[in-house]
Symmetry: C2
Subunit: 120 residues, 2 copies
């Protein structure tokens, strides 16, 4: 099994916007070199999710975890992303696809953000 | 001194989008009841930053910390927000305003997101 992680973000015309996503990807790559890590975007930046996953499958990935890098869980995460993942499952029936909850709903993220915003 | 924290997010038409911001505000309010916490938005949701800060000042706030709740540090954070803060400083010369870096640039956030995306 070749495992991959796709950090999926909104995207922006501003090339600096993705710096935190790239920084997360770099941390994972450094710590877990056996895991393939990619960033993909909903709009305004490349690659999109379909292209990213197609390239991963072509390179031998058999299991991919999609991590929505969204603090706010709006329509992009609740509606657009499931449609994209459904299309991925149709296009790559042999690929094991796991879709995580958006990072902004993770209790540890909420705890950390509250500590950063208001240190004790 | 009456201290306040404004969690400043992008905003969305989707009312569920702000749930993580509200959850962070609730954690701070529970842990540090002496601190006033508000959410404010750049667009598509209310209140905007100017309204939020005006209301805080009217209620006696003398020091406010603005926390950009953005994972990606694009133009909204690097260009739009400084203009808004400059206007706040002009409108409220007696108010002590601290502008934090966007949460997505905080090393602990990057570490945590990498752990969530790829558990050891």
């Amino acid at each position: 099994m070749t495992r991959a992680i796709v950090l999926f973000g909104h995207g922006s015309r501003d090339p600096l916007w993705r710096a935190p996503m790239d920084a997360v990807a770099a941390r994972i790559a450094q710590r877990s070199p056996a895991v393939v890590v990619r960033c993909a975007f909903l709009e305004l930046a490349q690659p999109d999710l379909g292209t990213s996953v197609r390239d991963l499958v072509a390179a031998g990935t058999t299991q991919v975890t999609i991590v929505p890098m969204f603090l706010g869980a709006g329509r992009h995460v609740r509606e657009d992303l499931p449609v994209l993942v459904e299309a991925l499952r149709r296009d790559h029936p042999a690929l094991d696809i796991a879709l995580m909850a958006p990072v902004g709903e993770h209790p540890l993220v909420l705890d950390l953000l509250s500590e950063i915003a208001c240190p004790r």
